[in-house]
């Protein structure tokens, strides 16, 4: 694991990525890989996170969960499937519909059962699907989608956990005492940052009482969301704190009024040299 943090991303770079992303016609892993290839200088996880955010936003626009739409999708699917050896049917349909393959696959599954629990189960494990062709197609759809599907979910969770643990390790190694989310929840806290420091520390002379780990890229939209939902709430309860966007964040965030005022932004755990701990002198 690298200890040198990323630098905040200049708006220019970010905008270029967004521009290129908007040219993409499909949301499968291949187009994603092409985009990654183009921005080799951007770390893969940063790139992955940015793409993930952008895909999610596009899907908010173009994907609807309605049964009407999913039955239409199913008609399209069946039409294509009449012809054997069509290969990757779902991928093609998803591309034509401008949604991600996994989402399309899930939409199809909604036609298999009206019970959403069953749909969920099938989606999670395609070997359970009885319709052999559908099962295989859904499997392909999921495999070709890096942003949606059971694996994507687990990846996201797992990454979040991983970086929380890394942070925890850093804190423990520095002997910084903290209460983690679970402990806080146990004690009945209403809002719980990832780490609430038992004894505040100063990072580059800014005093922090809590640390929030974000294993993703901080752009304006999600930062604002976090701020409203989490960061301000933490401030309301614990005072100033620190947010770590492990995969970097947009340079422009540094100039928002809350930053360096109510909390600071970092891309990694600060160096020992920039941390000041409270020392009890007798």
């Amino acid at each position: 694991m690298t200890t040198t943090g990323l630098k905040p991303m200049p708006l220019k770079t970010y905008n270029a990525i967004v521009k290129d992303f908007n040219r993409i016609t499909s949301f499968n892993r291949k187009s994603e890989n092409e985009l990654r290839k183009k921005y080799k200088e951007v770390p893969p996880s940063t790139m992955g996170s940015i793409i993930s955010l952008l895909v999610q936003r596009s899907m908010k626009q173009s994907y609807r969960k309605s049964p009407v739409i999913s039955s239409k999708y199913y008609e399209l699917y069946e039409e294509l499937m009449k012809d054997k050896n069509q290969g990757d049917v779902i991928n093609r349909l998803a591309e034509s519909q401008g949604i991600s393959p996994a989402l399309f696959a899930r939409s199809l599954l909604q036609n298999v059962s009206s019970d959403s629990a069953v749909v969920k189960k099938y989606f999670k494990d395609t070997t359970l699907i009885e319709n052999k062709d559908l099962a295989y197609q859904v499997f392909l759809g999921i495999m070709n989608d890096n942003q949606y599907g059971p694996y994507a979910d687990i990846i996201k969770q797992s990454i979040g956990l991983e970086y929380e643990l890394r942070l925890e390790r850093e804190l423990r190694m520095m002997n910084i005492s903290f209460s983690d989310e679970n402990l806080l929840r146990l004690r009945g806290y209403d809002k719980t940052p990832d780490f609430k420091l038992d004894v505040p520390i100063a990072v580059d002379n800014f005093i922090i009482n809590w640390i929030e780990s974000k294993a993703l890229f901080g752009d304006e939209e999600n930062h604002l969301g976090y701020m409203k939902e989490q960061l301000m709430c933490y401030w309301n309860r614990f005072g100033p704190g620190m947010v770590i966007y492990w995969f970097g964040y947009l340079e422009a965030l540094d100039s928002t009024p809350e930053v360096n005022n109510m909390f600071i932004l970092r891309t990694n755990f600060p160096d020992k040299s920039s941390i000041t701990q409270y020392k009890i002198d007798l």
Binding site: F139, Y151, I154, S158
Partner: protein, 1360 residues
């Protein structure tokens, strides 16, 4: 009138001075002749009369001062306000026909006057009556509309502002009730006060005018001026003009006269932009009131916008520049005009410019010490005055000081002088102080008498300036010397204190209140919903606060504020939510207090420029900028329920603070002072809000109206000063006379008095009272309270330090001087209701006798005093300082169980003894005991949960394993387990408490030995027992069920049965740690999943992939329990993907699969370490099979038999009925006996140990995978052969059971498949069967062969 007679008699020598003095001092006057006037006079009446007399005498001089020049009073802004007040005319005034002046206040007072017996005697009283509100209005209306408006809206403010008679100096507004001195009850008093003016302006007096006049100044064409002129019969129009300028000026006391303008430039007079109260600043309120922007001068307009941006430093600079310009202009004008010796004004006020046109040249007479007549008579007056002051007969000493200083700084118009001179020749007694020389002599000499107070409440500069004042020097050189000396001392001490205080400032808080789980977590709420709601409310509260602060500069929309507060209150309406919100509000309010910090020079300068530095003795209760948010919040939270909770929260906080002990054995004087200041500030703030809340229902102007009119005068509390109509007042009093305040103020005050804590308690009570509305103050309860305050005011308090005394009296004086204060009460003799506390045995330890108040504290707590550090140079030594603090604490009840008492008298006695013991301890000891008890029991609880509980749980599990092992009868297994757990629990509880006992004892004794070395030993027992009780309670609460040892005994039982021998006492006790050294070598599951998935995709696309072994190793790493980064879901995903990878790989690279199978095996083995092996030997005896055989009867059961569907989980041998239903109706049934022993027990085991991960292998032959395998470019036979390899491998390694494979095969055949696939499958099965030789019975292979054969030609059958 008697009082008048007394004075006349003294002047004429009929009455001996000494006798009068004695009488005033309340000493016996046996020597008095029987016909002595004193015997039938009332002392209080005399006081009132005397003060009025002084005012009347000097009125013309004061007016002159105001007219002519700025320097009336040291106070800046307040002056204005003063000027606004209306004065009644005095009866005595010949000129005044009827009083037209009417304030609401006046009205009230009138009423009272009428009620009072005295009134009959006084003609004035009647007159007063005649003035009623309506009259005023009429007049005003006549005069001008604008004035009328101003009255209605502003009248209140004016009233409030002017409470002190001093203000009379501003002729414009005769104070109505005016002097603090004058009780309402005496109507004559009012008149007297006014009289002087009348004399002066004779008719102009119709004060009418108050506000209007004031405003006039500002406005070029003030109708008001005219009005006032008109009304006044007076010739003296000139005066009017003069007035204008004065009112606006705020020189400090020390400020130089107009003449000083040229010579002394260094002092900039503060502009009166009081941030907190917009309404007061002329600039800001004029437009609103009159809604005539045109009225404003150019300067005003220019000035206004800046004023509004209070906070920005730019504003200050801008203001300064404006002031400079202004001054420059003035200077020019003066030059041009070549005006009189007294140039107009140094003040920055804009008005002056306007006035120029009106200005006339006057000749002024300056006081001359050589021209004083009747010195002996004046000396008598001085003496009387002094006696009144010293005997606390005057309500506000500070007010008197302003009055005197104003005289000193005044001059007299020549014409007036001449007039007075002639009058004096006619009537010496009635005009003795009218000459400037005489009055100055009087003032200076009186000042000398109260120099002790002067030196404290004047700031450095004021002392210097006053000391350098020519008049002071010539009239009374000693006073000048004294003042200058004081100045010197103060400079010195300031240096010292500057040094000492450096770096002691506490930091500002974060501006939020920390979440405290002991008071804020879910347990503190009645329901989760309420808790969740409060979560939102907390955030909303801060959001509103931030929004408020941000939008303040840009203009705040009150209606939005109101809406936001409403939605905040609506999002959680339970009582608990309001209570928590109120608590949050209270804490935030306390948080808004600025920390104790020495003012920086910059901020001092800023303050000087923005607010009057002059004394604010008349300042009305108001809210600072920071407090405004909270005030508005209360105001717009139109929710009585919330307000009640807020009242409770404030009250409890006040009570807690009020009883806080000050200092301790180790703290020095400075520490205690600091503590005191902090506590006092908090108390003052909280009680101000509590008072506000109390008066709110009675005095608030409906919010809707406020919003509509836009006339939000938020900073001040004008509504509380409004006197209701007489009848309304009566009704209200009758209605509310028995209501009580939220806090037992009377009790607290008397206790504080008795305990010598007045310094702490009195000021906040004063703050509280100051916020009450007119009516409330007149309720019985408060009348009683006020009587006590009056009583305290008149006490001498010999044991108090001088500063403390001045502090207390200033606070009281300020209160008594408020416009709505019922002064009449002061003079009502009340024999009862006064505190009877024996102060003889005061010890030195009481807080009141501490030297608490230094100059900065005095200044900080009494903003109405001069805002400059006052030097304290008290030399008085009263008592020893070093004494422990007196603490007032309610006894702590550690443990007193009533039942015990009844049961056992001996025990009860013991308890009482214990109580006595505790009571007899100093409060500090009691607090320590409480603390030790709390901490020791908390520590014990932690230890119990950390050690005793897990130990017990482990033991219980061990027992459980034994029980399960030895158990033959499974029906009673659960019961016996439950019994075992219950027993374990009770043992745990008993042992835990016992083990704690010694531990607790030891800790308590260690702690107490360190903290209370001298405490009697029994205290240790007391504390230890208290701990023990707490622990017992805790264990009862928390260890009440076996859940703490085992969450679900039944589940535990099943899993133990399943585990069999494998069960261990502490499964998975080793927790992976982030601190382990291998951390850095751990692979990221997320990354591994991504890579593996990508490779699968590449394989599917027939693209090249790198050597898979790397990623497979990563998988192994991720699946290891030592990998802390991994969690079950990730592990599942990895296993699932690795199986998929295996299949995809064999479909693309067929035979190469064998190369990676070992790697995959490692992964799988890591994920599923607990695969149950078939151990046929374990099989149960065959008799059971027979028992089960009936199932065979169910031959035509059409269910496809699956192991899962078999409900009899405990069956060791299963009959598999295989029913193959073909469409042809040709049903073939094969019965196969499969020994499925293992399967049943192994299922739960799998689930518990491997999270059912093995199930993924149960779907190797699922439809999807068959499609996957068929969809390949490789040769089919190779692919299927490779699959056979894998299947055999899986069977060999126990990933796959024979049953499972059988099931899978059967399931495959239930679907339609192309013939080629069926054939391939058959081939595959045969291959597996041939290579799988382990089966003990061989039936499995037989079955596979059968299936293969059968299915191979199934299609043909169909075709045929």
């Amino acid at each position: 009138m008697m009082s008048e007679t007394i004075l006349e008699s003294v002047f004429s020598g009929k009455l001996e001075c000494d006798l009068l003095y004695r009488w005033l001092r309340n000493d016996p006057i046996e020597a008095a002749p029987e016909d002595c006037v004193l015997l039938c006079s009332n002392r209080d009446e005399f006081v009132v009369y005397f003060l009025s007399f002084l005012r009347n005498q000097t009125d013309s001089i004061l007016q002159t001062n105001s007219n002519a020049l700025p320097i009336l009073q040291h106070q800046g802004t307040p002056d204005k306000s003063l000027s606004q007040r209306k004065h009644h005319r005095s009866i005595s005034d010949p000129t005044c026909d009827n009083d037209k002046s009417n304030d609401s206040l006046t009205v009230k007072s009138d009423r009272k006057a009428q009620e009072s017996p005295n009134r009959d005697k006084k003609k004035q009283g009647r007159r007063v009556k005649t003035k009623l509100f309506p009259d005023e209005r009429n007049k005003e209306q006549n005069q001008s509309l604008s004035s009328d408006e101003s009255r209605l809206s502003v009248g209140v403010e004016r009233l409030m502002l002017s409470s002190t008679p001093l203000k009379n100096g501003f002729k414009e507004y005769p104070p109505p009730m005016s002097s603090p001195v004058t009780p309402h009850s005496r109507s004559f008093n009012f008149e007297r006060c006014d009289t002087p003016r009348l004399v002066r302006h004779s008719r102009s007096q119709d004060k009418s005018v108050c506000l209007a006049d004031y405003l006039v100044n500002v406005q070029p064409k003030s109708s008001k001026k005219r009005r006032s002129k008109n009304t006044s019969n007076d010739d003296s129009e000139t005066k009017v003009d003069l007035d204008l300028s004065n009112s606006e000026i705020f020189p400090e006391i020390g400020a130089r006269k107009s003449s000083s303008l040229k010579s002394e430039r260094r002092r900039i007079k503060p502009t009166n932009i009081d941030k907190s109260k917009k309404s007061y600043s002329l600039n800001s309120f004029t437009p609103e009131v009159f809604q005539q922007p045109s009225l404003g001068l150019e300067e005003n307009l220019a000035f206004k916008p800046k004023v509004q941006q209070k906070e920005s430093t730019n504003t200050f600079e801008a203001e300064r520049n404006i002031l400079k310009l202004e001054r420059h202009k003035l200077m020019e004008k003066f030059n041009v005009l070549g005006t009189s010796t007294s140039p107009k004004v140094t003040t920055p006020q804009i008005k002056i410019t306007q006035k120029d046109s009106i200005d006339r040249i006057h000749n002024y007479i300056d006081a001359d010490s050589n021209k004083v007549f009747f010195k002996d008579k004046i000396d008598m007056l001085v003496e009387i005055y002094d006696i009144l002051l010293k005997n606390n007969l005057i309500l506000s000493v500070n007010t008197e000081i302003y009055f005197l200083i104003t005289i000193v700084l005044s001059k007299q118009l020549e014409e007036d002088y001449l007039l007075c001179e002639s009058q004096m020749q006619v009537n010496m007694c009635g005009n003795i102080l009218k000459l400037i020389h005489n009055s100055t002599y009087f003032a200076v000499k009186s000042l000398w008498n109260i120099r002790g107070i002067l030196e404290i409440i004047l700031d450095k500069n004021s002392l210097k300036i006053l000391g350098e004042n020519k008049k002071v020097r010539s009239f009374y050189p000693d006073l000048a010397k004294f003042l200058l000396n004081s100045y010197g001392l103060k400079c010195e001490s300031e240096l010292v204190s500057d040094r000492s205080k450096n770096g002691s400032g506490s930091r500002c808080s974060n501006g939020m209140v920390c979440f405290n789980f002991e008071t804020d977590n879910a347990e503190n709420f009645p329901s989760i919903l309420s808790f969740q709601n409060f979560k939102k409310q907390r955030d909303m509260f801060y959001e509103i606060l931030r929004w408020y602060q941000e939008s303040q500069s840009s203009g705040l929309s009150r209606s939005i504020l109101r809406a936001r507060i409403k939605s905040l209150l609506c999002s959680g309406t339970s009582a608990a939510n309001y209570a928590h919100l109120a608590a949050l509000f209270t804490q935030m309010l306390l948080d808004s207090l600025p920390p104790n910090e020495q003012e920086s020079k910059l901020s001092k300068l800023q303050r000087r420029l923005t607010c009057p530095s002059a004394s604010e003795s008349n300042r009305l209760p108001s809210f600072s900028d920071k407090e405004m948010f909270y005030k508005e919040f209360v105001m717009f939270s139109e929710n009585e329920s919330f307000r009640v909770h807020l009242r409770d929260a404030l009250a409890s906080e006040i009570i807690a603070l009020d009883s806080t002990p000050l200092g301790n054995e180790s703290s020095n004087g400075a520490d205690i002072s600091k503590e005191f200041l902090q506590i006092s500030k908090k108390l003052g703030l909280l009680s101000k809000f509590l008072g506000y809340l109390t008066s709110l229902p009675y005095a608030q102007i409906p919010v809707d109206i406020l919003l509509k009119t836009g006339a939000l005068t938020l900073g001040n509390q004008k509504e509380i000063f409004t006197a209701p109509k007489e009848k309304v007042l009566e009704n209200n009093i009758a209605l509310r006379n028995y209501s009580q305040p939220a806090i037992n103020l009377l009790g607290i005050l008397t206790t504080a008095y008795g305990n010598g804590r007045l310094t702490i308690t009195l000021p906040w009570i004063v703050h509280y009272i100051s916020m009450l509305d007119y009516t409330t103050l007149r309720l019985k309860y408060y009348q009683n309270l006020l009587k006590i305050l009056f009583h305290i005011y008149t006490l001498k308090f010999e044991h108090l330090k001088k500063n403390t005394l001045i502090f207390l009296k200033s606070a009281l004086g300020w209160l008594f001087d408020l416009p709505h204060f019922p002064r009449e009460t002061f003079y009502e003799k009340s024999d009862s209701a006064v505190i009877n506390v024996n102060m003889d045995n005061i010890d030195n330890k009481i807080i009141d006798s501490y030297d608490l108040i230094d100059e900065s504290i005095l200044f900080e707590l009494c903003p109405y005093l001069k805002d400059i550090n006052v030097l304290v140079s008290t030399t008085r030594v009263i008592h020893d300082k070093d004494a422990g603090s007196f603490r007032h604490i309610t006894p702590v009840c550690l443990s007193s169980n009533t039942e015990d008492r009844i049961r056992n008298k001996e025990k009860e006695l013991q308890i009482r003894l214990e109580e006595e013991l505790i009571k007899s301890q100093p409060s500090s000891t009691r607090r320590v005991l409480e603390l030790v008890t709390e901490r020791v029991s908390s520590g014990a609880v932690k230890e119990l949960t950390a050690h005793a509980l897990p130990d017990a749980a482990r033991k219980a599990r061990k027992n459980a394993i034994d029980i399960v092992h030895n158990c033959k009868d499974k029906t009673s297994l659960l019961q016996s387990l439950q019994a075992m757990y219950a027993e374990s629990l009770s043992r745990l509880r008993a042992e835990a408490l016992e083990s704690c006992r010694s531990n607790v004892r030891q800790r308590v004794s260690t702690a107490l030995a360190a903290l209370l070395p001298n405490a009697p030993p029994p205290l240790q027992v007391v504390a230890a027992r208290a701990c023990y009780n707490r622990l017992a309670k805790w264990t009862n609460d928390h260890w009440s069920t076996t859940d703490v040892l085992c969450k679900n005994i039944e589940d535990e039982m099943n899993s133990l049965i399943a585990l069999g021998d494998c069960a261990s006492v502490s499964p998975n006790t080793e927790h992976a740690s982030v601190l382990s050294a291998e951390f850095d070598s751990l692979h990221s599951p997320a990354h591994t999943i991504i890579t593996l998935k990508e490779q699968i995709c590449l394989l599917l696309d027939y693209e090249e992939i790198p050597d898979p072994s790397a990623v497979l190793e990563c998988c192994v790493n991720c699946c290891q329990p030592s990998n802390v980064l991994s969690r079950p879901p990730a592990q599942r995903a990895l296993l699932q993907l690795s199986i998929d990878f295996c299949l995809v790989y064999l479909s693309r690279h067929t035979s190469k699969i064998n190369e990676i199978l070992p790697k995959l095996h490692t992964i799988w083995d890591t994920c599923c370490p607990d695969r149950k092996r078939l151990t046929p030997d374990d099989l149960d005896p065959p008799d059971r099979r027979l028992e089960l055989s009936p199932t065979f009867a169910n031959f035509d059961d059409e269910r496809a038999p699956t192991p899962q569907s078999d409900e009899e989980a405990n069956v060791e041998v299963k009959e598999l009925k295989i029913v193959i239903v073909k469409e042809v109706k040709d049903v073939e049934v094969k019965e196969i006996k499969v020994s499925s022993v293992m399967e049943t027990p192994s299922k739960p085991a799998q689930e518990s140990e491997s999270n059912g991960l093995l199930e993924f292998f149960d779907r190797m032959l699922c439809p999807r995978n068959i499609v996957l395998l068929s969809d390949t470019k490789c040769k089919a036979s190779e692919v299927w052969e490779a699959l056979a390899d894998v299947l055999v491998f899986l069977l060999k390694n126990d990933y796959l059971s024979e049953d499972s494979l059988t099931e899978q095969c059967l399931a495959v055949y239930r679907q339609d498949w192309p013939q080629n696939i069926l054939e391939n499958l058959s081939t595959c099965m045969k291959s597996v069967s041939s290579r799988w030789s382990r089966s003990s019975t061989g039936k499995f292979t037989l079955f596979l062969d059968f299936l293969a054969d059968y299915c191979n030609d199934m299609d043909y059958d169909l075709v045929e």
